[in-house]
Amino acid sequence: MTYTTLALVAVALTVLLDMAVLRTRLLTRRVFWVAYAIVLGFQLVTNGVLTGGNVVSYDDDAIVGWRIAYAPVEDLLFGFALVVQAMSWWVRWANVGRSRSAAGGSRPLGSGW
């Protein structure tokens, strides 16, 4: 499989993870899209530095050849998958490390579980 194919599959599986498996449904939330836009901006800069500076280079046969800020467009798909998976797991594990008092409130535990 090429990088292109893998990246497209990764995006599809990531959408499935968010919407159907973990059911975090971040892709339906405004807070996600605004955060992702910010992350994307930084991705274009940092990835531009890494690829423009040839820290990482790509096999021409593995990509379609379109680039944005020096990086293969496939990196946008890779980045989307990475970011959404991370955020989805984070939301899934909400309340890890928090306790609930008898009154029904919740507070961070600090160093205890």
Partner: protein, 100 residues
């Protein structure tokens, strides 16, 4: 060193936000977030590096790796997910928009 410096830059930029949002305080939750992401993306990296999809400049990386995966990549798959989570929590806190 270039790749490491870029990663250090990401950490530096997100540091104050990580504190302000309380993300660093939720380190157990961070661990449970990073582990599944690392598993998926290290596997992808191993496959891609093995097939030659991408390669790394030996002059700009340390050359230290775990198998074929450069240590910089392993750090990348920790640093970027944490930065993404910090971004999510920062927007959530700044705007008052929830994800529930």
């Amino acid at each position: 060193m270039t790749y490491l410096l870029v990663l250090a830059g990401i950490v530096l930029v997100t540091l104050p936000l990580g504190v302000w949002t309380g993300v660093y305080g939720q380190w157990r939750r961070l661990l449970l977030t990073v582990i599944p992401v690392l598993a998926v993306f290290v596997a992808w990296d191993v496959y891609a590096i093995g097939r030659g999809h991408w390669r790394f400049d030996p002059d700009q990386t340390t050359g230290v790796g775990v198998g074929s995966v450069p240590v910089e990549e392993l750090l990348f798959f920790v640093v970027v997910p944490v930065a993404a989570v910090i971004a999510l929590e920062a927007v959530r806190k700044a705007r008052g928009w929830d994800y529930r």
